[in-house]
Symmetry: C2
Subunit: 392 residues, 2 copies
């Protein structure tokens, strides 16, 4: 069905159980859907904007309170909404990193963290992962030591994902932050896969910046996200403009340079805010989410020739599977080739996997009910059996 | 009525004729409203994302074609969607401007252009306006000459608004671009108040970058916008990542550094795309819009003690009025003070002016029907008469 012109109606979430690795945490709540309708118009939140004319000071709708809520949600002092987590990374690298300086990332850092370093002219230095695809405090300390020795001074920033995009593995943020603290290196916590789906306490982790993604994990429209920091760094990262027109002598009030002034003036921030009460609540159900994730991972592991490449038992709902010895063997002779798997899943009302993938692929069980998770688990086993693969 | 929690339903566009200076061009079309509902979920446009995994290459929904349409729309070679016009400015300043370099703006440049210069470490040099609040090619040439002489080389960038945010006056973009061409200085055309509401031909104007705002003038949700450029500059501004992980040797494909990878992955780009056929058509009705703008400006001018500070006859629907000698005189003794004007307008179904403003204020007639414009014009005259102000 066409929505208008060449645009099809999107019904993936209505018609299928969606296992897409990046979409589940960004599904809108019913409240967010209502908000994007009511506040869809461009500058919709500016109706009652008054002095000092900045998004985070608007009282109606209550964006000022929402900004305070966001900071409290991740146990930091100050927060701003951003056009995506990546723009949060960029604000931090552009403030702290000078061209040519090393920036510590990890062997599992997301490409947007690399781009943020690149755009600031920084030089990436990765903390290697261990044999279980985990970033440890110990390896972080080694990298910090090596980089500091080489440069003659500690690097200006370390960026670490709580859970990475490749394996959904949990990394030792607290230990890494502790190591960084010994060199006085500020730590950016990338919570794209955590803020909004599980409890995050930036203070307890000892990090200086907490970045979250609205469209990835906070049930909000894209592009949206948040950047929170401590009182210590707020003045730097959220510094207000100091530029002046040389002929007019104009200055520009309290606009924040790295925010480029106001960031999300309508549907995005309103969707994020409308979802927030639900999001704040749902992080407390993380244990149930993990049970579903483990249930599906166990089912896949029970299929001969299949391996879960992510850490087990799962500590996140995003999971990397290796089916080279199972579904991929079938694909080699199946008339539908690799598409047999996505096709068989679709017949069972399951979608969102990369079409044709039967080798190494990712899925995410976030947001499934127990019954849906059981259906997914049973479906993988059934499809294996139907195609002659041994199932334990 | 509450939408949910503390969020009120927004009904400004449903209940009032909205004269807000910045909102009218960003009102969603019906098609955009449908699109933000169907594509509201975070990463909704990524359902069929395949190699090379970049927003502007997605075929379903047809974002690839939309990107080509956007470039053609402003007569440039290559376009990208952006999280707001300001992020388009930023991409250009960060590519072309080194810290300490002068950047030419104008005495009427928007604050976001200044922030883009500030965030790149540039030094602003304003082209002064003439006595009619217009930026001319002649003054641009003088500023170019002065800056080039002082620095020993031409500046890396000149940024000019086609219509400015203060007066909605038209500036001599073609002549300014011609002057810049003589120094080989690239020109960024800020079309926040033009792209999407009137015909824009970047090639004919001789500019190197055309920036538009989705939420200000393209009937799209915030934050959205576009950056278009020539084949000559596309490789620079849209350069792909060259960074590499030092331990993993990872590289990051065709992701574009200044875009920070993908920019608008859901509701925003879909709203923009769904509105686009309407937007492409409506720019051809600019003359009718100007007639409405002139009709209202004439009505205000007919009120004794009132001056239109923008150029007349109006060449834009955004207009700056001075009512110090009319409505502000009333405000001094009225029991509602300055709010008498917004209150009297509201009784007549008109809203969107800055509450309490009776001195110097802005309004925008964009999108009004002729009948609505006539009603607005008659209302201003009536309110003046009712309060004892002479009306011609």
């Amino acid at each position: 069905m066409k929505l208008c012109g060449e645009i099809e109606v999107r019904d993936r979430e209505e018609t299928l159980i969606n296992l897409d690795p990046i979409q589940s945490g960004g599904r809108l709540t019913a409240e967010a859907m209502k908000a994007v309708i009511a506040y869809g118009d461009g500058y919709s939140v500016c109706d009652a904007c008054g002095k000092p004319f900045r998004l985070d000071t608007i009282k109606k709708p209550p964006l000022d309170a929402f900004h305070r809520d966001l900071a409290a949600f991740v146990h930091m002092d100050v927060a701003r909404v951003m056009p995506g987590a990546r723009r949060g990374f960029q604000a931090v690298t552009h403030t702290l990193v000078s061209p040519g300086q090393p920036v510590i990332l990890t062997a599992l850092s997301h490409y947007t963290a690399f781009l943020a370093v690149e755009s600031a002219g920084g030089v990436p230095r990765e903390i290697p992962m261990d044999g279980n695809h985990r970033i440890t405090g110990e390896e972080a300390a080694k990298t910090l030591e090596a980089v500091t020795r080489e440069s003659g001074s500690p690097p200006p920033l370390l960026m670490v994902d709580h859970f990475d995009y490749q394996y959904g593995n949990e990394h030792q943020v607290r230990e890494i932050a502790k190591a960084a603290g010994q060199y006085d290196v500020p730590v950016l916590y990338n919570g794209a896969y955590s803020v909004g789906i599980l409890p995050v306490d930036g203070e307890a982790l000892g990090v200086d910046f907490v970045v979250g993604s609205g469209h990835k994990s906070m049930a909000a429209p894209a592009p949206s996200g948040m950047l929170a920091t401590t009182s210590e760094y707020a003045g730097k990262i959220f510094r207000t403009t100091g530029i002046r027109g040389d002929r007019t002598n104009r200055t520009f009030g309290v606009k924040e340079v790295e925010m480029m002034g106001c960031t999300l003036m309508g549907a995005t921030v309103m969707g994020m805010m409308a979802s927030f009460p639900h999001v704040r609540e749902r992080v407390n159900r993380w244990q149930e989410e993990l049970e579903n994730a483990r249930l599906v991972a166990r089912a896949l592991s029970s299929i001969s020739g299949t391996a879960i490449l992510s850490e087990v038992p799962r500590r996140h709902t995003l999971t990397r599977a290796d089916t080279l010895g199972s579904f991929d063997v079938v694909a080699r002779t199946h008339k539908k080739k690799g598409f047999f798997l996505t096709s068989a899943l679709k017949e069972r009302g399951i979608g969102g996997l990369f079409p044709g993938a039967t080798r190494v692929w990712k899925y995410n069980t976030y947001g499934l009910t127990r019954r849906q998770a059981e259906h997914v688990a049973a479906s993988f086993r059934e499809i294996a059996k139907e195609n002659g693969i041994a199932v334990m």
